[in-house]
Amino acid sequence: MIDQFPALIIVAPLLGAFLTPIIGWRYRQLCRPWALMILAIPLYAAGGALLQVIRSGPFGYNLGGWAPPWGIEYRIDHLSGLMLVLIAAIGLLAAINAKPGVSMDLKGKEPHFYTLLLLQITGLMGIVITGDLFNIFVFLEISSLSGYGLIAHGEDGAPMATFNYIIIGTIGASFYLLGVGYLYMATGSLNIADLAAILPNLYHSKMILVGFAFFTTGVAIKMGLFPLHVWMPDAYTTAPGPVSTLIAPLMTKVAAYIMIRIMFTLFQPDFSISVVPVATILGWMAVVAIIVGGIKALAQTDIKRMVTYIMIAEVGYIVMGVSVMNRPGLTGAILHIVNDACMIFGLFLIIGAISYKGHGREIYHFQNLNKKMPFTMAAFVIVALSMCGIPPACGFFSKWYLIMGTIVAKQWVFSITLLCSSLVNAVLFFRIIEKAYLAPLGGGAHGHDDDHEEEVIVRDEAPASMLIPILITAAIIIILGPLSGKIIAAVIQHAVPAAF
C-alpha cells in the first residue's frame, strides 16, 4: 500500500474533483462532506510518505512503469514530503473553514467552488511531488487556472485584478517553460535527477545561463518577489474570503519550493554563487522586498491588504534565507516556508471570520472586537506574536535561523533588515491589538457611534466551522515553535545540501 502513496496523493483529489460536479448536480449540500473526505486521503498518504522518507530515505515512483528519463517520475524526499503534509493540512483546514464563507459569498456555486478547491490542491501537490520539469509546468498551470477562476469571483475590483494576474502569471509560467526549453536543448532531458547529473559539465554554456535566468524570473513572478509582486496585493485582497484563505498561504510557498529545488537540486549550489552571482542579486532583491513590503503594510488601513504586503516581506525573508547560501540560512528558509504558511493562513482565516460576522476590515473596525469575538481575537494575538518573532511561537525560531544565516554569511545589512522588519511587524500588529483590547468602550477614540455610549457588547463569535480551524491553526503555531528543533533534526537537515 505504501508503495502506491505517491500516486494516491495526486489521483485521489483529481478523481474527487472530477466527481464533485456530478455529485453537486443533484445533491449540492453533499459537495462539502465529499471534498472533506477526499482531502483526508492525501493528508493521510502524505503523512505516510513523509514517515517513510524519514525512516528509509527518499524514494521514487515511476508512473506507468516507464524508467525515469523516458517516463515521468514522482520523487518524494525530505523537502517534498514536508511540503506535501503542509499543503494537505492547510487544504483540509481551508475546506473546513470554507462553509460559512461560501454560503455567504458564493451561494449556489458550491459544486464549482469545491471542484476548483480540489484542483488547486491537486496542482500544488503535483508541483511538489513530481520529479519532471515539464510536469511541474502542467501542475503549475492547473493550480494557476483554478486560482484565476476562484479569485475573479470576488468583490468589486476582482475581475480586473484577476486579468492582471492572468497576464503576469502567464508571463511567469511561460518564462518557466522557456527555461525548461533551454535546459532541454542543452541536455536532452527533462528529469530533474537526470539533469542534475548532466548539468555540472555544462555550467558555462550560455544556454544554461539563459535557462536559469528564465527559471528564476518565472518563479519569482509566481512567488511575488519584489519588484514582480504587482499582481499580488490586488488579487488576494479582492478574492472571496475562503479563496484567499486557501491560495494566499500556499501559492507563494510552493513557488519558493520550486526556487529551492532549482537552485539546490537541479543545479549545484556553487552555480548560483560562483558561475552567476544570482545569490547576491536575490539577496539584495529580498532586502528591498522586506523594506518595501513593510513600508507599504504600514501605510494600509485595510487589514487584508496589509497582510498581502506582509506576505511580500515574508517572501523576502525566504529568498534571503536562500540567498545567503549556508546551512542555517537555508534551514531557516525551509522552516519559514512552513511557519509562514501557517501564520498567513491563520491571519486570512481570522480576517475571513471577522468579515463573515459583518465587521469591516479597516483597523478602526477592530474596536472592542475582543469582547465580541474573544476566541478569534485570542488566536489573532497568538499569530501576531508569532509574526513579531516572540517565543515560544514558531515565528521566532525560523527568524532566529535566518538571522544566524546572515551573520554566518557576514551580510550585516541583511541581519539589520531582518531585525527591523520584526519591529515593523510589531508596530503593525500592536496597533490592531491595541484597538481591539485597549480602546475605550463606545468608540470614543474616533468619535463615531456616540449615540450608544451605554451599548452592551454582546458576544458574537464566528460559527464553529470557522472557529475550529482558527483555533487549530493557533495551536499549531504554538506547537511548531518548541517542535522546530525536532523538525529540523528529522526533516530539514536532510533537505539542505551536504556541501554546506
Binding site: L14, A17, F18, P21, L63, G64, W66, P69, W70, G71, I72, K107, G108, K109, H112, F113, T115, L116, L119, T122, G126, F134, N135, V138, F139, E141, I142, L145, S146, Y148, G149, L150, A152, H153, Y182, Y184, M185, A186, T187, G188, S189, L190, I198, S205, K206, M207, L209, V210, G211, A213, F214
Partner: protein, 96 residues
C-alpha cells in the same frame, strides 16, 4: 504616468530580447541530428515505441503512454478552465 509605463515595458522587453539573443549564440546548429536534445532521451522513443506500445505514431505513443501523466494533467487543465468559466459566468443558481 502613461509614458512612464511604456518606458518600463520597453526596458523589460529589450532586456528579455537581449537575454534571448545572448542565448542563441551557444545553441547547437539548427537541425543538427546529433544535438543533445536529439541524442539523449528521444532516440529510445523512436527505436522502442512501436514495439513496446504497438503504435506506429511515436508522438501518440509518447503522449499517451510514456508521458501519459502530462496528458492527464493537460485534460485536467481543460477541465479546470471549463469549471472556472462556469463558476464565473453562470448566474447565481437557486434564485433566478
Amino acid at each position: 504616468m502613461k509614458n512612464w509605463f511604456k518606458l518600463i515595458s520597453w526596458v523589460a522587453v529589450i532586456m528579455t530580447g537581449a537575454l534571448l539573443i545572448y542565448g542563441i549564440h551557444d545553441m547547437p546548429a539548427w537541425g543538427d541530428p546529433d544535438s543533445p536534445a536529439n541524442a539523449h532521451v528521444s532516440p529510445r522513443y523512436i527505436l522502442e515505441a512501436t514495439e513496446k506500445t504497438a503504435t506506429p505514431n511515436i508522438v501518440s505513443a509518447v503522449l499517451a503512454d510514456y508521458r501519459g501523466y502530462d496528458t492527464l494533467g493537460e485534460t485536467t487543465v481543460i477541465f479546470t478552465a471549463a469549471i472556472s468559466c462556469l463558476f464565473l459566468l453562470r448566474r447565481r443558481g437557486g434564485k433566478k
